[in-house]
């Protein structure tokens, strides 16, 4: 008897063909859904980024790389770096947001891990609640906090930073505040998973060897937290680059990020080709970010 075609898979006697066919029936609906509504349209975005905007906002199938040159700043009025600035600003804001979140997340996680085990749930819940609160609510709430009638804006007015009676928004500061407040839980939660399981024996060993506080942190604590930190950074940096709600509500027209730019093209400006080009630029930045993260998580161990 030859078993060339038949095999036993998890106890079932069948052929490879029949198994693959059944697997396809199961996986196809979901896969096709994603393919149809995301994967293929994304490829289409690439195509559309090379088309031209018609006079009434429709797509003219005239192919050129004009949208990209425009993104790089070249237009009929000469060269301006406006769009490049927006791209740069997005990365810049994302970078500083992530950095501040990391600096705040470590003490927060240590503090919680230091509590008695029963109390920890309470503190974790305190982080989880903002995490699950709607982004729009969390962002607009800052409009309230930075309003002219509240102490913060009044204090800034007294210092002369802003005119009397005006709010602390729209401003870069407001955007940063909103971003950090949004993403802090995203860094803290995966980091906490590592900090909770920290092997303090290594820290004791470092202390025994008379290491200073900074060295203790760098050699005994940091390596153990890299996996969770890596997850947290990915969950923060990449979405932060494409963030739209926070800069829209707190930054206004003068402090645009990539997300706002894209939204504008698909909204009021009705310039889908240009919007597609900017989306592609953001995708490229995202892929670069993911690649860097993958390289670093490789050396830190499996995240």
């Amino acid at each position: 008897m030859s078993s060339q075609h038949h095999l036993v898979w998890n106890g079932e006697l069948t052929t490879r063909l029949r198994l693959i066919r059944r697997g396809m029936y199961l996986a196809a609906p979901g896969m096709l859904w994603i393919l149809l509504f995301l994967a293929l349209p994304s490829l289409l975005l690439i195509v559309i980024s090379m088309t031209t905007r018609g006079d009434y906002g429709q797509i003219e199938w005239v192919f050129s790389l004009d949208n990209f040159t425009r993104l790089l700043g070249f237009s009929s009025y000469g060269w301006s770096a406006d769009y490049l600035w927006i791209l740069f600003r997005s990365v810049w804001v994302a970078f500083w947001t992530t950095l501040v979140c990391v600096l705040l997340a470590y003490p927060l996680c240590f503090h919680i891990a230091n509590r008695a085990p029963e109390k920890r749930y309470f503190w974790l819940t305190l982080i989880i609640i903002p995490f699950w609160t709607n982004l729009v609510i969390r962002a607009y709430a800052w409009l309230l906090v930075l309003a002219p009638q509240l102490p913060f804006a009044k204090f800034a007015a007294v210092l002369g930073i802003i005119p009397d009676g005006s709010p602390l928004y729209p401003s870069a500061l407001a955007v940063y505040l909103g971003m950090v407040a949004t993403f802090l839980p995203f860094v803290a939660m995966p980091l906490y998973a590592n900090v909770e399981k920290l092997d303090w024996a290594l820290v004791e060993a470092a202390k025994d060897l008379y290491a200073g506080r900074a060295r203790i942190f760098w050699h005994a604590i940091w390596p153990q937290t890299v996996p969770g930190l890596s997850v947290g950074i990915t969950l923060t940096f990449i979405p932060a680059m494409g963030m739209f709600v926070v800069p829209d509500l707190l930054g206004g027209a003068k402090y645009m990020l990539v997300g706002n730019l894209i939204q504008q093209q698909f909204g009021t400006s009705r310039d889908w080709p240009f919007g597609a080009a900017v989306s592609l630029a953001l995708m490229v930045l995202t892929l670069v970010g993911l690649h860097v993260q993958r390289k670093h998580s490789g050396e830190g161990g499996v995240p």
Binding site: M1, S3, H6, L7, V8, G11, E12, L13
Partner: protein, 340 residues
């Protein structure tokens, strides 16, 4: 005849797991496949269960060819190494699984399940979940779950590897008693030679996909066919020699043996317990040896002797100590010529 397998070949890519393996078991026999990991014993068991398909060969169950019969239609059941109890079902439902899957219902199921649980002394825990059980208890449930279906043959895949040593001995004895009571064919896979000797009627020693020797336990132990089998089932002293008039000429002298060897040159094996202490020179196969080491093992002394780098198993009351010079006899009936 119960379960038979003929000319079984199985390859996994480059690796040859089974090479021309034959297996014949009798009804009501406790048969063991013994060998180190990677020798193919588990593969063979899975082929019998229907969980693997051989590349070629035939599997027959009570005379019927079941080689291409799916696992869920074969009248064999398996006790898995990990027990594979269904974590979401109570013990009762676990045991009832094989009955319910064949659409049995009602009092028939209840009676059979309770009888099976009673057989393994777990009837009072029927509503517990597997997560609440110890390893030994899980194993018993796995046994009941398999036996309730009254299979022709019960297959056991290293069922005691997860148990601690003391429990293992108790379970081995229980398993043997159970098998005798039921009168069913059991096929056990293990790497533990002591276990094999304890429970089995016949043992097949395997190595790299081949059956090296298949014989009743006693014969396997006392008459190993080659060095591999001799070494695998307990300890053996190996003595090289050349056939001569009256026996075998070795560096220890001329040794008489009951079964003359078929070869001109070769090796003899003798178990430590068959090297016997004598107060004076023995009549046959006597040797004056010097004790190089003596280890107290509680129930016996393990004695190292020169010449010949021999290991002897002696009663502690002999009072043998390191440095002694003693007379020993190599029992002629226990000297076994080995083949390749």
């Amino acid at each position: 005849m119960s379960l038979e397998a003929y000319a079984i070949y199985k390859n996994y890519g480059e690796v040859e797991a089974l090479h021309n393996v034959d297996l014949v078991t009798e009804r009501g026999e406790f048969f063991t496949l013994l060998g180190p990991s990677g020798c193919g014993k588990t593969t063979l068991l899975r082929i019998i269960a229907g969980l693997e398909l051989p590349d070629s060969g035939t599997v027959m169950l009570t005379g019927d060819n079941v080689t291409t019969l799916p696992a869920n239609e074969r009248n064999v059941n398996t006790v898995f190494q990990s027990y594979a109890l269904f974590p979401h079902l109570t013990l009762f439902e676990n045991v009832a699984f094989g009955l319910r899957s064949r659409r049995m219902t009602g009092a028939v199921v209840t009676d059979k399940v309770m009888a099976a649980l009673a057989m393994v002394h777990m009837e009072d825990k029927k509503d517990r979940l597997p997560s609440q059980l110890s390893g030994g208890q899980k194993q018993r449930v796995a046994l009941a779950r398999a036996l309730v279906n009254e299979p022709e043959v019960l297959l056991l895949d290293e069922p005691m590897s997860a148990l601690d040593a003391k429990l293992r001995h108790a379970v081995q004895a229980e398993l043997r008693q159970l098998q005798q009571k039921l009168g069913k064919t059991f096929i056990l896979v293990t790497h533990d030679q002591e276990e094999a000797l304890t429970v089995s009627d016949r043992i097949a020693v395997m190595r790299q996909g081949r059956v090296v020797q298949c014989a009743p336990a006693r014969e396997l132990y006392e008459r190993p066919v080659n060095r591999y089998v001799a070494d695998f089932l307990g300890k053996a002293n190996i003595i090289a020699g050349r056939r001569a008039e009256g026996g075998v000429e070795t560096e220890l002298g001329l040794l008489r043996l009951d079964t003359p060897p078929a070869w001109e040159q070769g090796e003899l094996a003798i178990r430590p317990e068959n090297i016997v202490f004598h107060p004076e020179r023995p009549a046959v196969n006597g040797l004056r040896a010097r004790v190089t080491e003596a280890f107290y093992r509680g129930d016996r002394m393990e004695v190292w002797l020169e010449p010949g780098n021999l290991r002897m198993s002696a009663a502690p009351r002999r009072g043998i100590a390191k440095g002694d010079e003693i007379w020993i006899e190599l029992l002629p009936g226990a000297l076994v010529p080995l083949h390749e």
